[in-house]
Amino acid sequence: MAEPAIRRLLATDDTPRFRCGDEDYDLFLQRYAGQNQDRLFVGATYVACDGSLVVGYVTVAVGQLDRDDVPSEVRGGLPRYPLPVLRLARLAVAEAIRGRGLGGRLAAHAFAVALQVRAAAGCVGVVVDALPSRIGFHSELGFEEMELKSGQSAIRPQPVSMFLPIAAVEAALGSRYSGAVA
């Protein structure tokens, strides 16, 4: 199989046969990702396909970090208004093609979307809801665990929220795109 291109989820994509080993993630793609994206406009899902069969997906949504209850002495240099971020909410790869680097490519695509959002509307960083088994992977990318009072994802097992400033993503791209990511 050639490396699948990554693009936005379409209503015609074959999602019912997607199996990643976690029924909750399968069900989310099959039942909710499309309506979140196309009807409720609360997120977007990017898929990798083998033909029309979805073999991996990543779901992102815009969000904001707030510090309402943080005392002023801790706020330091942060502005008082909420900080816009891109939230990497779900990422899953079909069991059949696991271990070929598709998860990393999906994550890179989500980070590129974050750069687009920064250019279009503002975005200071990426927040990932990392499953306990994936904390090490995200730490290697530079994410740090970020303690929240509220706004945690409801997926199970309880994920850990981690933060990566957008400047690190830009630095990783270097001069290859000169700030223009399609």
Binding site: F28, V127, E147, P165, G174
Partner: protein, 95 residues
Amino acid sequence: MTHAIQISAQVSASAKQLLDEFSAVSGIKKNRIVEDALWFYVRARQELPESAMVPARMVLTERGAALVERSLAEPPQATPSLVRLMNTLEPPDEA
């Protein structure tokens, strides 16, 4: 709205700011915004299980705020793993 009644609620400062600013920019009255937003929210919650929702607002603890402040003030170098990951991106004209 047929028979309007008044309610009061404790909300965050940022939520009030958002309401004030959106009302000023859009010209829509605040009571209309609150009522419409409530209908949208309840409808979304009825159609999506909690696990399918991605909360848009994350409130930081003191430690969380300190981490974000430090990360933004002194962004870390891109790690070798992140550089390798971003190298998998297709150039824009080939994507």
